[in-house]
């Protein structure tokens, strides 16, 4: 094994050499420092290799053969090797990234850089408290130098603040070290360990001082104002070193010192770390400067890892995995982001929009952000899952809450940033961002590393992993094939979907089977629409594949982890898809916030359930006990955010309406069903839960009723047709939810049938509307009119869609109405039932508006030459139309299989089927209360209609087709189609009567919440006033408070 002293020697030696060489031989200088960094990395890599594969033993090194405490004692174990390797990799790539800068100012920068990394290596390896002090000083001075050597505006003051803070910290540390020596007579950590917990006079204070110094070095909230200024003021590459390199080393030092601390200290570190995590993310929300924002994020992540180090007793075996998972994500992502910031140059969040000119860079930017946000498949996702589960097992609910809130706040600003970068319209991207290879390589390597560790990370998890990688491979394949034209990719994806369906469907049963059909058929139908697009649609297909992969994995999932994994994949995929819409940035953002918030609740709910039952499968949800209502509520809210129950629905209308024409049916017709599936699993396992004697199902049923009435009312006042359909989805999902909350055979039959019919109807309508949009480029209904004359086929689709959706016989929508009434009666939810009927009546309002305003009435001038939608838009609609007609004629085909699936859960109270006169398997459905035969209704209605139509054609003599202005207009002549078309503010009187019901209560509430959160953040942020002295005072006060708490605890 290579001796670590080489690093010391190389570092110091070359640094001196560089000093001697001076300015003259700049190329040689760079070669020298590169060589040094490569050798650092190579040495540490060799250690890792040997530890991992070569059966190397942990070994100690003592300088000059002295025993501690008189030598520089180094210990080289697997941990040290890995951390050192990480730091050195950071050094190597930082050097590479700084190549140009080094070229310019190597004589100053290069030696300092070298010394810094040498110091960091030693910090990691040394086992001696005094040595730690020495290297702390060395790194502090080197780092201060690095910061100061920059010409940026705030660099000087940042460097000065850094030096001030670090000297104070060093002083504290030195005092601690002295006291340790005073009380134990040794500074060698292993001596201290061997001697048990540090004992002797002043021992407690000694330990406290040493550890608090390191904690302060890790920038705990709120004594971290100096650090924020440093992150903001320093060169981004230097900030990357501080965040990823120095941060990692310091964390390791803390980890090392934890051995000598007692449980009290550990708890304090935990709390300090968690508070830091929560608050720095909270404060990050209102941050507008990219480097400062990354600074907040860095501090937050370091705080979280600090807390994890503090909690290692609680976490037990999983500690290493959790800490490394989060550390790796932080390390790679933060370095990558700082580097990208260095390339972009600007410091406003919006200035990152130039990344759009470099798709690859943008992709990596996204990878980094989503890795930080703990999305799969990145290491932080697995680590957080394990962390929450471990904490839950240890019943540390407060810690869980803090972590979840911190994670949520973190996602708020990270995703908002992503949205701004990808879609902000205020920033015009004019020219390509100049990049050079030395900057790209480090970023690419780190992004690749994240993916690599993401793949390997899960194997270390505490749960049995049985993920199906086939869909994910498809996603990756589509990323690679993204250069192909649209139709090729579309065909590939359709074939893949069908093939996958062929494989997977036989393996699924009951509900999973039904939902899988919806997801796969939905994918097929919505993808057909995609043929109407020309060009390449860069990035579209991988995202679609990602969303559908998430969906299909969701129904395949048999345990909590796969479910949550799929859930997050689907969320991310759909977020990207929605974000592709023209004006969808704020809506995609709010979608993400609600989804992520919901996902966190689901995660916490799963963790709680697991902690009670110890199971990792869905059986965990069959838990009983005091916690079960809480778990139920958490999971229900989590899933209800996805189904957009009222109050949690405000993300939906914007997200669904601003998405692209073929994305809208995907997210509205299909994606929402994921939430239903979640609810289905939840209700199936947990059933009725009671809080204070109140059945939560009853509460939920009222939520469902209000959701559907509210959704429909809101739909009826929209002017935008996609918004109208989006609100309609809110209402429909309310009805489905209502069916589920009935917890009876018919209720679930209603819900599942509703899922299918809603999928068909909404996909049909969204596609028809998409067809209209493809021709008119407009979604505002009253600006259209009379399109029936130009787009008759689309009109028929919309007609069938609305008749089916409104539940008018003879189409299949009536099945839902009939079932809901029967289910309500047999369950006894009468008043809710009336609410559902009211909702059904209100549905007529918006449905009629949807068909009347654009399609009927007066044809507008600019639409006179509009053509029928293209074939590929119509084709999926034709298929859906045929399915709807088939289900309408033979409802048994739809209802009987669902009935048999539901019957396994609720054996009694289902429908019975009676044979009838008519062929084709037409059967009469008989419920406890009533009966209904869809085929009869269909046939009779058709016959009556045909007879009457024939009569009318027979009896008339001259039938004349007239023009659009040939109307009775109070003996006047209409002047323009616009002034003759009744379409705007269609239900004015209705709004007059019941308009108070549609006041934007939910929107106001969430705005209020967001205002409160932001204003608290702004208030707290005031303590960071930019004054170095104040920051020092913060440090002192923080130190004192900790001291008093610690002593009080003693």
């Amino acid at each position: 094994m290579v001796s670590p002293y080489y690093i010391l020697t190389i570092g110091l030696g070359l640094a001196f050499l560089l000093g001697l060489l001076g300015k003259k031989l700049s190329k040689v200088n760079i070669a020298v420092i590169m060589l040094a960094m490569i050798s650092f990395a190579a040495i540490s890599a060799s250690w890792v290799w040997q530890f991992a594969f070569g059966n190397a033993e942990e070994s100690l090194f003592f300088s000059a053969g002295f025993e501690p405490p008189f030598s520089i004692a180094l210990k080289l174990g697997f941990q040290e090797a890995i951390i050192a390797f990480m730091v050195n990799i950071m050094g190597l790539f930082s050097t590479l990234f700084l190549w140009k800068k080094l070229h310019k100012e190597n004589d100053k920068l290069a030696p300092v850089l070298l010394v810094l990394f040498m110091g960091l290596n030693m910090l990691i390896l040394t086992r001696d408290l005094f040595n730690i002090f020495v290297f702390l000083e060395i790194t502090a001075i080197a780092l201060g130098g690095l910061i100061l050597l920059d010409e940026r505006k705030h660099a000087a003051s940042a460097g000065f603040k850094y030096l001030l803070a670090s000297s104070l910290i060093s002083a504290v540390y030195l005092l601690g070290a002295v006291l340790v020596y005073f009380s134990t007579g040794s500074l060698y950590i292993d001596d201290l360990i061997l001697g048990g917990p540090v004992a002797g006079p002043m021992a407690g204070i000694a330990v406290f001082l040493t550890i608090i110094a390191i904690v302060l070095e890790l920038k705990p909230f709120p004594a971290n104002g100096w650090a924020l200024d440093v992150y903001q003021g320093a060169h981004p590459a230097i900030a990357a070193i501080i965040s990823a390199g120095v941060g990692t080393a310091m964390l390791f030092v803390l980890h090392k010192l934890m051995i000598i601390s007692g449980p009290m200290m550990a708890q304090m570190i935990t709390v300090a770390g968690l508070l830091t995590f929560l608050f720095s993310n909270w404060l990050g929300i209102s941050q507008r400067d990219s480097n400062r924002l990354l600074g907040y994020s860095s501090i937050g992540q370091l705080g979280l890892i600090m807390a994890i180090i503090g909690m290692q007793d609680i976490l037990g075996d999983q500690f290493a995995f959790i800490a490394m998972g989060i550390l790796l994500s932080h390390f790679f992502a933060k370095a990558g982001l700082f580097w990208i910031s260095g390339i972009v140059g600007g410091s406003k969040l919006e200035s990152f929009a130039v990344l759009r000119s470099r798709p690859l860079l943008l992709l990596m930017f996204g990878i980094f952000l989503f890795a930080l946000s703990a999305f799969p498949p990145f290491p932080s996702f697995y680590a957080k899952w394990d962390l929450i589960f471990a904490l839950s097992d240890a019943k540390q609910y407060l810690f869980i809450t803090l972590i979840l809130f911190g994670s949520f706040f973190e996602v708020v600003y990270l995703i908002r940033w992503f949205g701004i970068v990808v879609k902000n319209t205020s920033e015009e991207v004019k020219e390509k961002l100049p990049v050079n290879i030395t900057q790209i390589i480090p970023i690419s390597v780190f992004a690749a590393a994240l993916l690599f560790f993401g793949y390997y990370g899960q194997h270390f998890m505490n749960v049995p992993i049985n993920l199906n990688y086939i869909p994910l491979i498809a996603v990756a394949a589509l990323w690679i094939l993204d250069f192909l034209p649209t139709w090729v990719k579309n065909t590939l994806l359709i074939v893949a979907t069908l093939f996958y369906g062929y494989i997977i469907l036989p393996q699924l049963h009951d509900f999973a089977f039904i939902f899988a059909i919806i997801f796969l058929l939905g994918a097929f139908l919505t993808l057909l629409f995609g043929y109407s697009y020309k060009g390449k649609r860069p990035g579209f297909y991988p995202l679609v594949a990602m969303m559908f992969a998430g969906l299909i994995l969701l129904v395949e999932a048999k345990d909590l982890f796969s479910f949550f994994f799929a859930w997050e994949i689907m969320t991310a995929g759909s977020y990207f898809l929605i974000l592709r819409g023209k004006k969808s940035q704020p809506h995609a953002f709010s979608y993400m916030l609600f989804s992520f918030g919901g996902a966190l609740l689901i995660l916490a709910g799963f963790a709680l359930a697991h902690s009670v039952t110890g199971s990792y499968t869905f059986d965990a949800l069959t838990m009983v006990g005091a916690l079960s209502p809480l778990v139920f509520i958490m999971l229900a809210i989590g899933f209800l955010t996805k189904t957009a129950a009222i109050g949690l629905h405000i993300w939906l209308p914007g997200a669904h309406s601003e998405a692209e024409s073929d994305v809208s049916p995907m997210v509205s017709g299909i994606l929402l069903k994921a939430g239903v599936y979640g609810l289905l699993i939840l209700f199936m396992r947990m059933g009725h839960q009671f809080v204070l004697g109140l059945d939560l199902m009853v509460v939920l049923s009222w939520v469902a009723v209000i959701t559907s009435i509210g959704g429909y009312l809101l739909a009826s006042v929209q002017e935008d047709m996609k918004r109208l359909l989006a609100y309609s989805s809110v209402g429909q999902l309310g009805i489905i939810l209502f069916g589920l909350t009935l917890m009876s055979n018919l209720g679930w039959l209603l819900a599942i049938a509703g899922v299918i019919t809603h999928f068909l109807n909404k996909t049909l309508l969204f596609q028809a509307v998409g067809g209209v949009y493809s021709r008119t480029h407009d979604r505002t209904m009253y600006r259209m009119g009379g399109l029936i004359h130009r787009m008759p086929i689309t009109f028929i689709f919309v007609l069938i869609g609305i008749i089916s959706m409104s539940g008018v016989p003879p189409l299949v929508g009536f099945a839902g109405k009939w079932l809901s009434f029967n289910a309500v009666l047999s369950k006894g939810y009468y008043l809710q039932g009336v609410g559902m009927v009211l909702a059904g009546a209100i549905a007529f309002l918006y449905l009629f508006r949807l068909i009347h305003v654009p399609f009927l009435g007066q044809l507008k001038d600019h639409l006179r030459k509009v053509k029928e939608a293209s074939f590929w838009i119509l084709l999926p609609q034709i298929i859906i139309l045929m399915i709807i007609m088939a289900f309408s004629a033979l409802p048994g085909v739809l209802l009987e299989p669902i009935g048999s699936a539901v019957g396994k859960i609720f054996p009694t109270g289902g429908l019975t089927w009676q044979d009838s006169f008519l062929p084709f398997g037409s059967r009469t459905a008989i419920s406890e209360y009533g009966y209904w035969n869809g085929t009869y209704v269909m046939v009779i209605t058709m016959i009556i209609f045909a007879v009457l139509l024939g009569f009318q054609m027979l009896i008339q003599r001259r039938n004349k087709k007239v023009g659009q202005f040939n109307i009775v207009y109070s003996a006047e002549r209409p002047s323009t189609p616009e002034t003759t078309h009744a379409g705007y503010h269609f239900y004015a009187h209705y709004q007059k009567a019941v308009g108070f019901l549609i006041a934007p209560l939910a929107t106001n509430f969430w705005n209020w919440v967001s205002d409160i959160v932001q204003s608290i953040a702004n208030q707290i942020r005031r303590i960071y006033n930019g004054n170095g002295q104040v920051y020092l005072i913060h440090l002192v006060i923080y130190f004192l408070i900790c001291f008093f708490i610690f002593n009080g605890g003693l």
């Binding site: 600019h862 006179r864 040939n966 009775v968 002549r973």
Partner: protein, 213 residues
């Protein structure tokens, strides 16, 4: 509502294509009315009976005579007894009562309304003004004889005629219909050019298609 509405317009389609809209051709049906002959004598007699017993008047008052139609709905005169009813829309009415003097401005509306009624349709001229101008014989703004502009089936003379006179007029009209002589709609179609010529002579800002379907 002005003549400019009928000027050709340059329109840009959503796809950016430029094209012209000619309101006269694009908004209106430009066809001429056609005569529709009775099918069969026996059937037609039955139909004519029904038509005569079910006179649906358009509720449209052109002049002061309109005030005389209101008492017909009241208990005193009660025209409903005779199957006479009022309809608010010309599409469903088949009897147009031109109630009193008719200014050229109103004539334009009356023509529109008449043309929007369906064959067979009947016109009743009410008051002297529709016959020869009456007391407005020297007005610069009222027409002097209605039958030059619309095919009138029955005139009810008087200034103003009493409601009883109107009832008598209905009876007269019924007789005409039953006799198959009330073929004003067909006459209008046959002599379309003549009627249009007369109409356009007095209506100087003709701002509608020749026949308002």
């Amino acid at each position: 509502m002005s003549l400019e509405d009928l000027n050709k317009k340059q329109i840009v389609s959503p796809d950016g294509e430029h094209f012209e809209v000619d309101p006269m051709n694009d908004y209106f049906c430009q066809d001429r009315p056609e005569e529709v002959k009775p099918v069969n004598k026996i059937v037609e007699r039955f139909y004519n009976w029904a038509r005569s017993e079910s006179l649906w008047i358009l509720g449209f008052g052109t002049g002061c005579g309109a005030i005389e139609m209101r008492p017909l709905m009241t208990p005193r005169f009660d025209a409903y007894r005779f199957g006479v009813q009022w309809r608010p829309t010309p599409r469903q009415a088949n009897l147009l009562i031109v109630s009193g003097y008719l200014s050229t401005k109103t004539l334009k509306r009356v023509i529109r309304v008449y043309e929007q009624m369906q064959n067979p349709k009947f016109v009743m001229g009410l008051g002297s003004c529709t016959i020869n101008g009456g007391m407005y014989f020297d007005s610069y703004n009222t027409i002097k004889r209605l039958d030059y502009y619309l095919p009138v089936d029955v005139y009810v003379a008087g200034c103003m005629p009493r409601p009883e006179a109107l009832l008598a007029g209905f009876e007269e009209l019924k007789k005409l219909i039953k006799a198959g002589k009330a073929e004003g709609a067909n006459e209008y179609a046959n002599k379309f050019d003549w009627y249009k010529k007369n109409q356009k002579e007095v209506i100087r800002d003709w701002d509608m298609p020749d026949y308002n379907w």
